[in-house]
Amino acid sequence: MSKPKRVAIVAAGINKWGMRPDATFRDIISEAGKACFDSNPKVSNKDIEGLVTSGVYPQRSGPQCHPSPVACEVLGVKPRLFQNTDCQCQSGAVNMRIIWSAIVSGLIDVGMAVGWERILVPNHGERYINAALACDHDWEQGFGMTPPALFAMPALSHMEKYGTTEEQYAKIAVKNHTHSAKNPNAHFQKGLTLEKALGARTVATPYRLFDCCVNTDGAACAILCSEEKAYEYTDNPIWVMGLGQGYTNWTIGNNPKDLTDWQGVRMSGELAYKMAGITPKDIDIAELHDCFTASELIEYEELGFCPKGEGGRWVDDGGNDYGGDVVTQPRGGLIGCGHPFGGTSIAQTHEIYLQLRGEAGERQVEPRPNIGLAQTMSGVGTQSMVTIYGSDDTQH
């Protein structure tokens, strides 16, 4: 494959995430879109040639089908490329890859990714029916398994195979809540103690309440452009260095027999590292898919931050935090920020955009990082997407 044209992020914005009964789909998109344009006054809504939305449940929680022209109208964008995309929790990453592809192919020069979810419908039963839809309708949904149960099984397997402890899982939740306490857009901002995490009610063994992320209402946006346009918009663009997506299977009975072997995640990382021409050692910060604490721990291993089976030890050593090998989840992750499915990957990008530009305020990683990795996943480690971003310094 010849080297593709370079694509940069030149603006990014996010709204206040959390329980947002006060805000409709249009309100949520308006807030994050406005924040995105405000982040770089040189980019106007009139410049946007392509707009892609990513939302997983609009037809259930709007209800609204065909949301991309709604977002275009709300934000005053008149695109020549628009669509919605749904790839469950990877939706935002896939969204940005559609725009990336359109820029690389020359179809457009400037595109905007709008990711959101408005998922906290008033009826809790309806929320859990929605949660079950992430499984196969014909062969899995009827059992009533939802993500906590699905992701609890590899958590147990990792404990049985490698001796990982519930306390090591809980330490990941404490870290992420500690980070999100410094993020005013996060769902949770009160921090968390290990004692409180380990004393919380059980959701699905071995997970307690704080091992789980929560569904959240929220949105995030990013503007991508060609290298020809990038320096017109900013002196400090953030570059897409590598993209990779992995897939092993769909139905959970066909996952790799070793439930701790998350080949889909590993494949997505390997492809992205190869395209970026780097190795895991080059990663300064990482925004990972911590739908549950064990997910984050297994991702450390599959993305090469520590050897297989040593995720627990890496947590104990603090390799995953400020001052460690890779600062994971500086914004607070899904556990601290909440998880609006279609918006999460774009919020990860927003955080990496801020961190690599040195604009992350109280939670800025020092020294200013140069390379950041974002990963989101659907399925239990079986489908994953990784995007690697580099500061402008990495390009010279």
Binding site: A132, D136, D138, F143, M153, V203, G253, N254
Partner: protein
């Protein structure tokens, strides 16, 4: 709207199980009427998948026959879920969920009935038990392949 509407399709998490609603109805007929777990076997390449298929993912043949699955298996991993289930199941919490391994190499997700959370363990032997789930739109009986500890 004077009457409460019922959204049968949008809220229905259970598979369609009859000849007029799924090509794989024989799976459910065997389960419902013979208490037997079956799957498909490709008549061209011999591939036996879980779940059953009308199209062989190995050789793309559409010629298949039904073969018996073992009625016992062992728990590969499990969890006791106390929260997060859809309404009908929330009342039955805690539910023990598991991935069950069969001697033919296949693995399926299921719920383990008649098993307290502190009894479940990896490697435990379990056997098939056919459970009723909510009827379909036409009021017909629907079933699911659950498991329970062997001999219970």
């Amino acid at each position: 709207m004077a009457e409460q509407m019922e959204y049968y399709t949008a809220m229905d998490l259970v598979a369609q199980q009859y000849e007029d609603t799924t090509k794989l109805y024989q799976f459910y007929t065997s389960l419902r009427e013979e208490h037997k777990l079956v799957t498909t076997k490709c008549k061209d390449c011999g591939h036996v998948p879980w779940p059953p298929r009308t199209l062989c993912p190995e050789c793309l043949s559409t010629d298949y026959e039904w073969v018996d699955m073992p009625s016992t298996g062992t728990i590969a991993s499990w969890t006791a879920a106390y929260a997060g289930m859809p309404p009908e199941l929330a009342a039955r919490a805690p539910m023990v969920y598991a991935l069950v391994d069969f001697e033919n190499g296949l693995r399926m997700p299921t719920a383990i009935l008649e098993c307290a959370p502190n009894e479940a363990k990896t490697g435990m032997e379990v056997e098939l038990v056919v459970g009723d789930v909510q009827p379909d739109q036409q009021g017909r009986r629907r079933v699911a392949p659950y498991f329970k500890p062997v001999g219970r």
